[in-house]
């Protein structure tokens, strides 16, 4: 019977090792796979997003011929005897937010 008990212990140990290996494998999979996912975009959804997310019309601010070189703009204002309006923000006004 002792021999049988020994065999049981060996089987239990083998089972424990197998469990341990399974736990290790599972944790590796969890680390490698993305935690979250979303459904793929269909061709129709792609077309809808491309059509509807960009503004449909130009804003009034886009009709202004903005300068982006301050000294060049100041020189032009000097030549044309005009004042200069500057719009400054953190993140460029012509395209951050």
């Amino acid at each position: 019977m002792r021999g049988g008990d020994g065999a049981c212990v060996l089987v239990r140990m083998a089972a424990m090792r197998l469990n341990f290996a399974c736990v290790l494998a599972a944790s590796c999979l969890l680390q490698a796979a993305p935690a979250e996912t979303v459904p793929e975009l269909s061709v129709a959804t792609h077309a809808r997003i491309i059509k509807t997310v960009p503004p449909q019309d130009k804003g009034y601010w886009e009709e202004i011929p903005w300068e982006t070189d301050l000294l060049a703009a100041a020189k032009r204002a000097h030549r044309e005897k005009m004042m200069l309006f500057i719009w400054a923000s953190s993140g460029h006004p012509l395209g951050c937010t």
């Binding site: 935690a35 061709v43 491309i50 997310v53 982006t68 004042m83 400054a88 953190s90 460029h92 012509l94």
Partner: protein, 283 residues
């Protein structure tokens, strides 16, 4: 004239030094703090009027007041523009040679809010975020043969899958990219469908975006003539300057299209290009 104050405060090139000499004439401006605002100047750089506000009525009043000053002969338009010289390559941000500029637009397309909006939040809730994506010459060459480079996929994920609809957004750090794939499949000569997925998330899990991507890229010979990439997914959280997001998870949709390469806005560097090397060769 439109400028990004971030560069003006750091660069030593002539335009930045000229701008800092202008904005510091406004009482109370801290040159190391926020220099956002509207400035009306004489060509010499002398400040005529300056303020910081988003109100259209104030803008009209300030413009009218400055014009009245000019008509009254109280603005010296003849004083010369200062002669400033030098360069500062550290903050130069020209479009890289051979690169294509792509417009990027973002919208919150679904979301619930528990708070009543003020008049600016009302606008923000339907606002479009704008930025530009640079696709480098070698990345276009790879794409023309059906390969999306890792650099392009990571640049799109880290710097352009962002909710920039309410202000200056935080970009994703390299460690916040949990997963990103973007691959191309040929669909006729010079045409490709792009498909991918991205999972971006901060370590504290307070901000994240899980999105699916699909795009269409087309070439005319070697020239990229179409880059329509769409992304849609669940976003949560906000950055320090993008407060007022919908509650919990909300849907953000992003669309790109090739920019008018000659427009003024196409010369404006991408927001993410402040960290230029990271933007060009993202980890």
């Amino acid at each position: 004239m439109a400028v990004d104050g971030w560069y003006q405060q750091r660069s030593k090139e002539p335009n930045a030094r000229f701008f800092m000499s202008i904005c510091t004439q406004l009482p109370g401006i801290d040159p190391d703090g926020s220099i956002q605002g509207q400035y009306i100047i004489a060509p010499s750089g002398k400040l005529v009027h300056g303020w910081n506000g988003r109100d259209a009525g104030t803008l009209r009043r300030e413009l009218a007041a400055a014009l009245a000053k000019q008509r009254g002969g109280r603005v010296d338009l003849a004083a010369p523009v200062p002669a400033l010289e030098g360069t500062d390559p550290q903050y130069a941000r020209a479009v890289p040679a051979g690169a294509s500029v792509v417009d990027v637009f973002a919208r919150v397309t679904q979301g619930k809010y528990s708070r009543e909006p003020d008049k600016y939040q009302k606008l923000q809730r339907v606002a479009v975020g704008r930025d530009r994506l640079w696709i480098l010459a070698d990345e276009k060459n790879a794409l023309a043969s059906g390969t999306v480079t890792k650099a392009l996929a990571k640049r799109i994920a880290r710097f352009h899958l962002i909710d920039n609809t309410r202000g200056e957004p935080p970009i994703w750090s390299a460690s916040e990219v949990k997963h990103v794939t973007l691959s191309a499949q040929a669909d006729g000569a010079g045409a490709f469908w792009l498909q991918g997925k991205a999972h971006l998330e901060t370590a504290d899990r307070k901000r994240g975006f899980v999105a699916a991507l699909r795009g269409r890229a087309e070439f005319d010979g070697d020239e990229l003539v179409r880059f329509d990439l769409a992304a849609r997914g669940a976003h949560w959280g906000h950055g320090p300057f993008t407060r007022g997001a919908p509650d919990g998870r909300f849907e953000v949709s992003i669309a790109t299209r090739l920019a008018d390469q000659k427009s003024a806005s196409s010369r404006v560097p991408p927001q993410g290009a402040r960290a230029l090397q990271d933007y060009l060769r993202p980890r």
